[in-house]
């Protein structure tokens, strides 16, 4: 039986790696992938607590998080395709239409 704390530490590490990726990478697609990484670290936390408290609700919420992640990926990648068709770039530095 692995302690819950170990899962929390692992999830913290993965979440931090995801945040570093979102803040430093300039490719929109890689940024979206790093968001998926962060969502997965949260799922890891939910399942760890579900196992710790022997309560299945954590896994129910994991299913919802996966649903939201799928919707987010579909819409996000649709936006990326529309963006590439209009601006010929996937670099976040060049997508500054709303920057004042």
């Amino acid at each position: 039986m692995v302690e819950t704390t170990h899962y929390l530490i692992l999830s913290t590490i993965v979440f931090t790696i995801g945040v570093v990726g979102v803040l430093t990478r300039r490719n929109v697609i890689v940024v979206l992938m790093c968001i998926e990484l962060m969502l997965n670290s949260v799922n890891l936390n939910l399942v760890a607590f579900s196992d710790r408290f022997q309560n299945v609700v954590g896994q129910v919420f994991t299913v919802f998080v996966i649903t939201v992640a799928a919707a987010e990926a579909a819409v996000g990648l649709g936006i990326v395709i529309a963006l590439f068709r209009n601006k010929e770039t996937v670099n976040v530095d060049e997508i500054d239409l709303m920057k004042w």
Binding site: L23, A70, A71, D93
Partner: protein, 171 residues
Amino acid sequence: MMEGVLFYILATVLVFFSILTVVARNPVRSALYLISALLSVAGLFFLQEAEFVGAVQVLVYVGGIMVLFLFVIMLVSVREVVFQRKAGRQWKAGVVLALVMAAELVYFLINGVGIFQSTPPETGIIVAPETQNTETLGRVLYGTYLLPFEIASILLLVAIIGAVVLSKKEI
């Protein structure tokens, strides 16, 4: 003992491939590393006796979302994305911000570690040891959480329509 060894193997693989996902120059490689990371997360789910969520992880994430990602990477011209600089000017600020956030998380972990040592509360839906994970999850999902489940299906419908509208030619 066996579980501990498996946990450390899967955790090492997960952290290793997560770092590779972030540092890989080529987005296709990045996606492949992310697939490996997601598979090790699925392994960790199986390790915690969450079989249904682990199977969903493999089917939806690896079989669905990551295929979508690879599709889009192939659609936007590969040459354009491969030969761009890895990080922009503000990457140092980004790393510093991420480290500050990590310090906060570690602070809360250290302060909250006592909570996890206490005995679990006797509330909520307790899993009976003899029932199957999938059966319990299905009963809770279609019983107590029926309304959120239906809202999630509406969310998916909205996402489908949104993706179709966004990908249309003239927008």
